[in-house]
């Protein structure tokens, strides 16, 4: 076997340590009975107990999850329809224009999106709160879903649709029995991406939450500003674990789908 240089591995290890060290540091001190992040005095679950005793915080967690699920579900539906519209659009120029608009939305800074939503909602007279947060999350998730679904749609041979029509399928059957099953890996990917974006979004949400309503990331921000409490550590730890579970679930679904995927391109 050829001896490989160790440096690439050292480099990778270094990068991962830099990225993950703060998170593990945070998680470690969430079990500290000392109450600070300086010296570890003893193991305790006190902060977690406090967390679960905090009704307000639990409601915020619930809000966050509801917003995430609702916004990703709705944006998945709209995004899939949008991707379909883009792919089956006759005019080349309109197609290009729509795609460019979509991509601009993805790369534009969250702060600008948040600020413009704030202006829009106040002008439209929509009260800041649940609705405004939900709407803005839906809005920034749609382009993500579109981006995840488009490649699958484009790779799908148009003769599959012809074949379905040939066998007597109407528009609805073509969509539900052929197109959607074919692009389902992309749809799942889009849904999970939207879910994670919504769960951890801070910038946009920060602009459009009103007084009575808050999501986790905004709440953590305000807690952190108020001063150090190991509550935040406990909360962050739980959030991190939740994300890991989400990612694992996502990979699991992808694995299952990958067996049937990739069959469409062979001749």
């Amino acid at each position: 076997m050829k001896k490989k240089s160790v440096w690439p591995r050292v480099y990778l290890a270094f990068i991962f340590i830099v990225l993950y060290a703060p998170i593990f540091y945070l998680m470690f001190y969430s079990f500290n009975s000392g109450g600070t992040m300086n010296n570890f005095e003893g193991f305790t679950l006190e902060w977690y107990k406090e967390l679960f005793g905090d009704k307000r915080l639990l409601i915020i967690v619930l809000n966050t999850i509801i917003i995430a699920l609702l916004s990703s579900a709705i944006s998945t539906i709209i995004g899939v329809l949008g991707a379909l519209a883009i792919v089956y659009m006759r005019k080349k120029t309109a197609k290009q224009a729509l795609l460019s608009f979509n991509n601009v939305l993805i790369v534009s800074p969250d702060v600008i999106i948040g600020a413009s939503f704030l202006i829009l909602f106040t002008m439209a007279g929509i009260k800041l709160g649940f609705t405004s947060v939900l709407l803005s999350h839906i809005a920034f998730s749609i382009p993500i879903v579109v981006i995840m679904v488009l490649p699958k749609l484009q790779e799908m041979s148009s003769s599959l649709i012809d074949a379905a029509r040939d066998l007597g399928a109407g528009h609805w059957d073509v969509l539900s029995k052929v197109v959607l099953p074919y692009i389902s890996p992309g749809v799942f990917a889009g849904f999970f991406m939207a879910l994670t974006y919504s769960l951890d979004d801070f910038a946009v949400t920060f602009f459009v939450t009103g007084n009575g309503f808050s999501t986790l990331s905004v709440e953590i921000y305000s807690l952190a500003r108020r001063g150090i409490s190991l509550n935040i550590n406990a909360l962050s730890t739980l959030l991190f674990l939740f994300t890991i579970i989400l990612v694992a679930g996502y990979y699991f679904i992808m694995q299952r789908n990958s067996r049937s995927a990739g069959a469409g391109v062979q001749k």
Partner: protein
């Protein structure tokens, strides 16, 4: 069986986005229960004709009739036609069984009935026992057969097959040719079969349409087209042939390769320039003196059933000969042929004029 026209094309023209014309005023009739073949080189418009019949694309001009009704605007899913696609177009998310069952499920056929018909269709294409397989787990030839099963299971009035045997090895291909032909006869379904393999076309069809550059060059039974090709293109495309320039001296007399020969053609102008076709298997090798044409053997290949020789006469015309007798390269030999073996083609003659001329022979008492 009475003649019943099931599909009729009336001056159908197709162009894509105002580009060059893909089909140019194509007209033909398809009779119920027959086996038709569209034959032509790549890009001549064969798939386009099938797509027009199936309804995946619309004619730019002209009318398409189905059972006497104009169907230009009938959507594909409402047409009594099923297609075997050139790229198979099997659904990758469904297994073999569900792919074949797709059409029946759409039509809400009873489950027991679906089961019976799917199994029968799979048995026909020699794929019994493959029901549970994923499409990705099938070879190219097996996929092609799934595609055939998926079309025939619906028992439509017309089946369109776009080069359905192209991925099969010779043995399986020949087997499937027999079985398809047999199935077509048994079910009485009209088949429109696309191929660019002329042997396949000759072997399977009731009628062949030879296409080139969006135009039907000639249509007729395999023997008609083989024996009486209308022009250089058809003669060249259908089977191997020797085509040399010649001149019609008068009725029953034609000049080529520097000599005058007796022939069976008539009704042409005196001294009209023509193309002469002689099939390689109609040429017989003899000694230099006895032959009607004197040639020198340039090369020789053993083809199994026969020897294939390329010879040149003194005017440097090339002669392809199929013979069971062997010659030696460089040898000077004579070639013999019957007057009937000479086929005279007028330059630029249309199919209608050609047919009229053939009829006039028959009126004159000449039977093949």
């Amino acid at each position: 069986m009475t003649k019943e026209v099931i599909i009729r094309f009336d001056h159908v023209t197709k162009r894509y986005d105002n580009d060059a014309v893909v089909l140019d005023h194509v007209s033909f009739e398809i009779e119920r229960g027959k086996f038709y073949t569209l034959l032509g080189p790549s890009g001549c418009g064969k798939t386009t004709i099938l797509r027009l019949i199936a309804g995946f694309t619309e004619a730019s001009e002209g009318d398409i009739y189905f059972n006497g009704k104009r169907m230009n605007n009938v959507p594909a899913n409402k047409r009594q036609v099923n297609t075997v696609f050139q790229d198979y177009a099997l659904f990758p998310h469904l297994n073999v069984y569900e792919n074949v069952a797709f059409g029946l499920r759409i039509k809400k056929v009873k489950n027991s009935e679906i089961d019976r018909r799917v199994k029968e269709a799979l048995r026909f294409v020699n794929l019994s026992g493959y029901e549970k397989r994923e499409i990705t787990e099938m070879s190219g030839g097996q996929r092609q057969r799934v595609a055939i099963a998926r079309a025939i299971v619906n028992e439509p009035e017309v089946i369109l097959l776009d080069e359905p045997l192209s991925a099969l090895d010779l043995k399986l291909r020949t087997e499937m040719q027999y079985e398809l032909r047999d199935l077509q006869k048994r079910l009485g379904i009209t088949f429109i079969f696309v191929t660019h393999d002329q042997e396949e076309a000759l072997a399977m069809s009731d009628e062949i349409f030879v296409l080139n550059q969006g135009k039907i060059q000639q249509s007729g039974t395999p023997t008609d087209i083989y024996d009486e090709p209308i022009n250089r293109f058809v003669a060249d495309f259908i089977g191997e042939s020797n085509i040399v320039p010649g001149k019609m001296i008068r009725d029953f007399e034609v000049e080529f390769a520097g000599k005058v020969f007796e022939c069976v053609d008539q009704g042409l102008n005196q001294n009209e320039s023509v193309d002469i076709v002689i099939r390689p298997e109609d040429l017989e090798i003899t000694s230099w003196n006895e032959g009607k044409i004197q040639v020198k053997v340039d090369s020789q290949l053993f083809r199994g059933v026969h020897y294939e020789m390329i010879c040149y006469d003194e005017a440097q015309n090339e002669w392809l000969v199929h013979s069971t007798k062997k010659a030696t390269v460089g040898e000077k030999i004579g070639l013999n042929f019957e007057p009937e073996a000479i086929h005279v083609m007028r330059l630029g003659e249309t199919e209608e004029e050609f047919d009229k001329r053939l009829e006039s022979y028959q009126e004159a008492g000449y039977e093949q």
